[in-house]
């Protein structure tokens, strides 16, 4: 099978670049430092109390996995936001479009190359994450679920970056807009829920006070389901369930008031991953359309 030329070139160039080596060093350096400090503090505690706190190792897993997720979701738009606009700036996009390459091949090649970089970062951190296996408590299935959550988030964040890159001619502009959209998804969904919860509280508490009730029944209502779009919520749900701690966080029905246990709430992680993948597909489709559409206008994008 013929390898996508754009993917092949991107991987070759990035493997050669100093930037990738530096990114891997910084990424794994931070993870390793955090993991080793955590382990050192746990062992120091053992020496003092002669008591092994196995939950500390789960904390280590939780912390390393969370750090990895945050870095991943912040790196991904930075990698992808310049992918198509960079080609425009170098004036090589037109050259590719005069060949037999289709816009879809260009966009998907770029996306695959960005995901490869991300996968390389995740795989290279496995030895650090594997430290928790020394003490047990986390199964391979848990790790696989976490990786699935990572990949869905990476694809989602990456597709936002690629889409912005296809719509804006300048990398700076597309990076700003990509982070703006991601910020809106991550923080905006929380904000909307908080607002809905607050408004519901004002309304409900007022009514209950009038009939002499004490307890508050305020919730954010259906706004809760907006959190399905939020990769960080999905990650928190996955990771807290894996570590078997903080049950309150593990069920989304306890967030922003007490919601009813619905089918969506019970299958939250799966639905959220599917939704993120579907949205990623929509963003990629939009990016392909944007690259194809330049034929109709012939204008350089700003």
């Amino acid at each position: 099978m013929r390898m996508n030329p754009v993917y092949k070139r991107e991987v070759m160039v990035s493997a050669r670049s100093f930037r990738l080596a530096l990114m891997l060093l910084v990424f794994n350096g931070i993870l390793a430092l955090v993991a080793l400090l955590n382990m050192y503090s746990t062992l120091a505690q053992v020496r003092l109390t002669a008591e092994i706190q196995y939950t500390s190792f789960l904390d280590l897993y939780l912390f390393v996995a969370a750090l990895e997720f945050v870095m991943l979701i912040f790196f991904m738009p930075a990698i992808t936001a310049g992918s198509i606009s960079g080609e425009r700036e170098r004036q090589t996009l037109d050259l590719m479009l005069t060949t037999k390459m289709k816009p879809a091949e260009i966009v998907l090649g770029k996306m695959a190359a960005s995901l490869s970089t991300m996968a390389l970062m995740i795989i290279s951190s496995f030895p650090i994450i594997a430290m928790v296996f020394v003490y047990g408590g986390v199964t391979l299935r848990d790790i696989a679920l976490m990786l699935l959550c990572y990949m869905a988030a990476a694809l989602f964040a990456g597709s936002i970056g690629i889409c912005c890159s296809a719509f804006f001619g300048k990398t700076t502009m597309s990076t700003v807009v990509a982070y703006g959209i991601l910020g809106l998804v991550v923080l905006g969904t929380f904000g909307v829920n908080q607002f809905a919860y607050y408004m519901s509280g004002v309304h409900t508490d007022g009514n209950l006070a009038s009939i002499g009730q004490i307890a508050s029944y305020a919730t954010s209502g259906n706004c809760l389901y907006l959190l399905l779009l939020n990769p960080t919520v999905n990650f928190l749900m996955t990771i807290t369930r894996l570590t078997g701690r903080e049950q309150a966080i593990a069920s989304v029905t306890t967030w922003f008031g007490h919601h009813e246990q619905t089918l969506i709430a019970s299958q939250w992680v799966l639905i959220s991953i599917l939704l993120q993948l579907a949205l990623a597909a929509v963003f990629l489709w939009a990016a392909i359309q944007a690259v194809s559409m330049s034929k109709n206008t012939g204008k350089k994008r700003r």
């Binding site: 092949k8 160039v13 050259l95 289709k102």
Partner: protein, 320 residues
């Protein structure tokens, strides 16, 4: 080879192409000339599939550009007016990448790009990073890239802009060589003197329409007739003036010292007949010559722009 019919393209209210009709014969080296904003680049972008026209038809070797764009791309090689290179790739990697964009892989691709790099004089630069190449070398690399899939039509949009005179000459030789190998080539340029020396055919576009198109010989002939015939008479001019005034192809007569400048619309044969008539009428003709014309003259005449929007020759541009 290339047939364009009623091509129209507007950007808002601006008509970039206004019913362009154009034909390029197989094996010709066609110079595509026009002032800035005439529609050259828009036409080229439509030909290469980078832009869709509002109306019209582009056909190359019988393949419709709009209905079968990907079949058409096998036929076209495109050299834009910019380099379009990846600085972080080596020369051979750059060529290999574009070869794979056309579905050429492995040994076949390698053999093909090695031949092309040798042809453009970059055979010994295969392992150089593109970033380290000079402007001329980058342009030659772009030419090699455009030929990687062995297209039958090579389209070049102002390929020599920004190159020094020596590199221009070298580039021109390479283009000439490609033409001799049987490639049909379209070059758009502002530098008319360069095109007149290189091309077999010329097309002049203005305000989105093709004003003049034909072989260099045909166009030179038109230029020829637009220039006056200078007749130098020894002694009395009365007989000559009488004959000229009565001649049906004489448009204007201007007398200056012992010369008569005649606006004569006839061709070379009719010129010789006029000379014979003058001699036959006993006019002592001392000189009979058509003032030399050039492409620039007809270009300025046709496009009729008060401001000089084209570079009439490289010397003019460089101030040499």
């Amino acid at each position: 080879m290339l047939k364009i019919q009623n091509l129209r393209k507007t950007y808002g209210n601006y008509h970039a192409l206004d019913g362009l009709d154009m034909e390029i014969a197989d094996g010709s080296l066609y110079g595509f000339v026009g002032p800035n904003g005439a529609g050259k680049t828009t036409t080229i972008k439509i030909m290469t599939g980078l832009l869709l026209p509002d109306v019209g038809r582009v056909e190359i070797d019988g393949i419709d550009a709009l209905t079968e764009p990907y079949r058409l791309k096998e036929k076209i090689g495109y050299v834009p007016d910019y380099f379009g290179v990846y600085d972080n790739l080596k020369v051979w990697e750059y060529m290999e990448f574009f070869a794979s964009c056309y579905g050429l892989e492995g040994l076949k691709a390698r053999k093909r790009f090695q031949i092309l790099l040798d042809q453009v004089g970059l055979g010994d630069k295969e392992d150089f990073f593109v970033d380290g190449l000079s402007r001329g070398m980058k342009q030659r690399l772009c030419l090699a890239r455009a030929l990687i899939h062995d297209p039958s039509l090579l389209i070049m949009d102002e390929p020599t802009s920004g190159l020094d005179p020596r590199t221009r000459l070298e580039f021109r030789d390479t283009v000439q060589e490609l033409h001799e190998q049987g490639k049909t080539i379209l070059i758009s340029s502002h530098i008319l003197s360069e095109l007149s020396e290189l091309c077999t055919d010329i097309g002049i576009i203005d305000a989105g329409r093709l004003i003049v198109s034909g072989s260099i010989a045909e166009i030179t002939d038109r230029i020829h007739t637009s220039k006056p015939v200078i007749i130098t008479i020894f002694g009395d001019k009365t007989a000559a003036m009488k004959l000229l005034k009565e001649h049906r192809l004489v448009q204007t007569i201007t007398v200056k010292d012992d010369s008569i400048m005649v606006g004569f619309t006839g061709n070379a044969k009719q010129e010789s007949e006029l000379l014979a008539q003058l001699v036959g009428a006993g006019v002592p003709v001392r000189g009979f010559v058509r003032e030399p014309g050039n492409l620039e003259a007809i270009f300025m005449q046709i496009t009729n722009h008060k401001e000089e929007r084209v570079v009439l020759s490289y010397e003019d541009e460089s101030g040499l």
